[in-house]
């Protein structure tokens, strides 16, 4: 299955080649977890970001517990400050 992933702000630099402005579609096997999906993006380990699945924020410790389903929408946000 292909999962829709949106990357905002500077995280856009880690989209696969050929992606649209801030979205991509990543292949994932049935029953695979969120951490497997995130591992497909070349985001450095020290780069902080927030993960939202279907409008719900997911805590870091839960990445390996969340099973991704075909219609899920995954959003990655950089934790920037306001101005």
């Amino acid at each position: 299955m292909d999962i829709s992933v949106t990357l905002f702000g500077g995280l856009r630099h880690f989209l696969p080649a050929g992606s649209s402005f801030n979205k991509c579609s990543l292949p994932l096997g049935e029953g695979e977890h969120l951490d497997a999906l995130l591992a497909k993006l070349p985001i450095p380990a020290d780069k902080a970001y927030i993960v939202i699945v279907n409008d719900q924020k997911v805590a870091r410790e839960d990445y390996s517990d969340i099973i991704i389903k075909p219609d899920d929408h995954v959003v990655l946000l950089p934790p920037i400050k306001g101005g």
């Binding site: 409008d55 400050k81 101005g83």
Partner: protein, 602 residues
Amino acid sequence: MSWHKKILRVNLTTGSCTTEPLNMEWANAFLGSRGLASKYLYEEMDPAADALSADNKVIFATGPLTGTMASTGGRYTVVTKGPLTGAIACSNSGGKFGGELKMAGYDMLILEGESDKPVYLHIEDDKVEICDASEIWGKTVWETEDILAKKYSDPLMRFAGIGQAGENLCRYACVVNDKHRAAGRSGVGAVMGAKKIKTIAVRGTRGVSCADPKAFYRIVNEVNARMTDRDEMSRDGTLAMMDVTNGFGSLPTRNNRSVRFEGANKLNPEAMHTPNENGHTNIVTNGACFGCTIGCGRICKIDPKHFSVKDRPEYHGASGGLEYETAYALGAACGVDDIDAATFAGFICNEYGMDPISLGGTIAAAMELFDIGAIDESTTGGIKLEFGSAEALCQIAEMAGKGEGFGADIAMGSKRLCEKYGHPDLSMTVKGQEFAAYDGRSMQGMGLAYATSNRGACHLRADPYGHDFETTEIAGKAKVVAESQRDVAFIDSSGLCLFPGGCGWGMDDYVELVNAACKGNWDPQETGERIWNLEKLFNLKAGLGKKDDTLPKRILTEPADVGTGKGLVCRLDEMLPEYYQLNGWDAEGVPTKDTLKRLSLG
């Protein structure tokens, strides 16, 4: 030392201009800029005085690091009693004016009394004169600067002044410097208007020394090397936040009826960088303030074919464009997704001298009043003030700037507007000041920060961002807000900008710079807490209290409709007692005797 140890005092009633030594005991306790000017204001005026009377004072204050080689060392603060809020106002700006004032040899400029005719102040180092302003009174900020720049034939002269909004005592009139940077919040420009002082023209040729120049030079380079993520801020500016809050579900939309705007992708950085159907690109380049190594400013052009400017070539040039806050207030808050219309309304704010956050927040409230039938076209002068109407936004913005027709009602601010038309609960304000671009339901810490901000709703009085994006649970938020309010007060008082904090700097980097420039071992928590409590004392004497540390009914009772905070209201009542306790205040939010003694305030 990085202080000049000199104040310029101008009495507009008597016409006297004098200098005096800076009170160094106070400087060592309150650092500079916001903190030190607040101390002077607190000691010199009755906080209960009318903000628009001669008894109020306006202080233009630099920090010890203003005018130095430290990155972002160009900030200054305007401190006064705010006519929008009745609270202490301290409005911070960048650009090049602050550095120039410092170069002229002054840590601070205190304006007191009021003139009986329009004047402006001309400063060239030691030469200071109050000049007749009849030629520029009634002119816009831009016209004023052009006229005086031509008169003095000095391209390095800098200006900070008001447009017609300040002259007309618009409650959220701001002080604009360098044509598009502003001490924007709380109506500091209206206080200048009441005193009939149009602008301050300053040219300085002195340097700024510091306690240990060698160490300072080394530390400046070291902390600059620790600055990261600058490319992103240069390319997208603060507008990068638009996608984040919209994705998270904390972008106040249509007067906070929603927390997500379907048109956000037409106002985001990509919209700014992408040519439209006419081949026009909104952004021209980025811009930087004095000494800045980030350059988050937006320099933009409106599409000449856009309805707002198609027959008005004077608006076809490049000027200060949409920041995140402007794009929220003149976009999402009003349901407008037209980037050129929002840019035009932003130009109007710079030209006439209005705070775009308060203007947008007030127009949004008016749009909701129109939507529920509390006002109609007979009130608005025939304008269909519907959410989403870019035409109405542009028309009303100009009317507010000129104080014409219904624009005079808009110039009162959201609180007074909603009270006038019988729906005070529709005003999205704290202490009378309009919300910034974050919703306090999905960002609970920001809700607490708005409610407790000494200058009214504000996104720059605390730093709850990281914690709020991490969790909507309220545990720990009171501590984050209380401690970050102190850190921010310290940074604001140094003469540096808050944004390096979003580009890799921690408090240690700021402190290292201050220690090298000012000599000493500064504790930002201690100094910041002293400043925060002093501002609180001013407000208490001005008549504000616990009743004012609150949020609009909508944020406390109507759950967020979508996003990560869906179903939540702001749990302010649960956070506030802990926040008071952490500050050493009693249950009514009054600093205890022990707290004041500990901070050398009592």
